[in-house]
Symmetry: C3
């Protein structure tokens, strides 16, 4: 059955959901878990879970690659009515995944040692985010 | 059974296929739908479906990030025989997804209110594109 | 049952695994194959398999977009202790997929004529990489 993970965000950055996914998968067997964020201004990443500087640097890189729409370099953008962070959020959500599919063995996601699952919030204001999840048996 | 969606494109930009996917899923139950574009110069996006300026701005951003190969800044590229839009199309197809996996509940894709499914054509000339689709029951 | 593909890399670039995936799928029927790289400094791409200049150009583009962290333009990065190629590798692994889902018909991945499956190694030193695979029947 489909499950919805509810994630409350409070500004741009990575929010780890690995523990939530692990707990939900706990009684499943072999298969895959599918995750999809139900929004167009946030992404889902599998990323390194050891040094929090990695998460900080990811945000710093993408903020430079896709500056706010009130930055002079971005003045060609037209979708600006919802704020200077809105169109860059859509661009980041095109560039980084919104759906992930992860193999599962004996109820455990087959992540590597250093991999965690993250919601990457791209908007400035707090948002209530939904991640739809489905488990499929192999 | 695998299905092929045929999409005729007529220049770069986003082509919505949400309706086609919804109709095809109509008699399925719970599970996931897998979509994969069978080409290396187009992408599949889940993106905002309300303001068409978002689609225009996405194209504008990626055309600036990955200019045509006859642009002076791109003169280091070697794969140029198929036209100045060809290698940039491969780069965009590396940067934006070519496969999507979407949870399905009661025959309906679990998309958020503002999410649509799009083929993003990266080539200039018209192309006949194929998107392979598979439904898996949960 | 989940399978692990072992890929030994020897520097940055694309390593084709299409043949390995085809052989492993050989006795399966209709469904999908899920692939996920179990590392945060490598990606999985479906890309063009005809002209090797495409693979060379992909690497050249992303090396310019995400320079080493000892490059003056990247001095804002903090996660630098593991070498100048490490944080750029994480950024590339955020920007290009780490999981792929591919429809399968009669035991054959439904790839287009020009599509191959590649591990994209982002690190400089040789690495032993694992790609987890799961087949799901439709």
């Amino acid at each position: 059955m489909m499950h919805i993970f509810d994630i409350q965000t409070d500004g741009p950055g990575l929010y780890e959901i690995t523990g939530d996914v692990r707990r939900w998968l706990n009684r499943q067997g072999d298969g895959v878990v599918v995750l999809m964020v139900r929004h167009t201004s946030a992404s889902l990443l599998i990323q390194e879970n050891a040094d929090s500087d990695v998460q900080r640097d990811l945000r710093a890189f993408f903020d430079r690659l896709v500056p706010p729409s009130d930055n002079p370099s971005m003045k060609y953008l037209r979708h600006t009515a919802e704020g200077p962070d809105d169109m860059p959020a859509h661009i980041k959500a095109a560039m980084m995944p919104v759906s992930l599919t992860i193999p599962v063995a004996a109820g455990r996601p087959a992540l590597g040692t250093w991999q965690g699952i993250y919601l990457f919030e791209h908007r400035t204001r707090p948002h209530a985010r939904e991640v739809a999840a489905q488990f499929l048996s192999a």
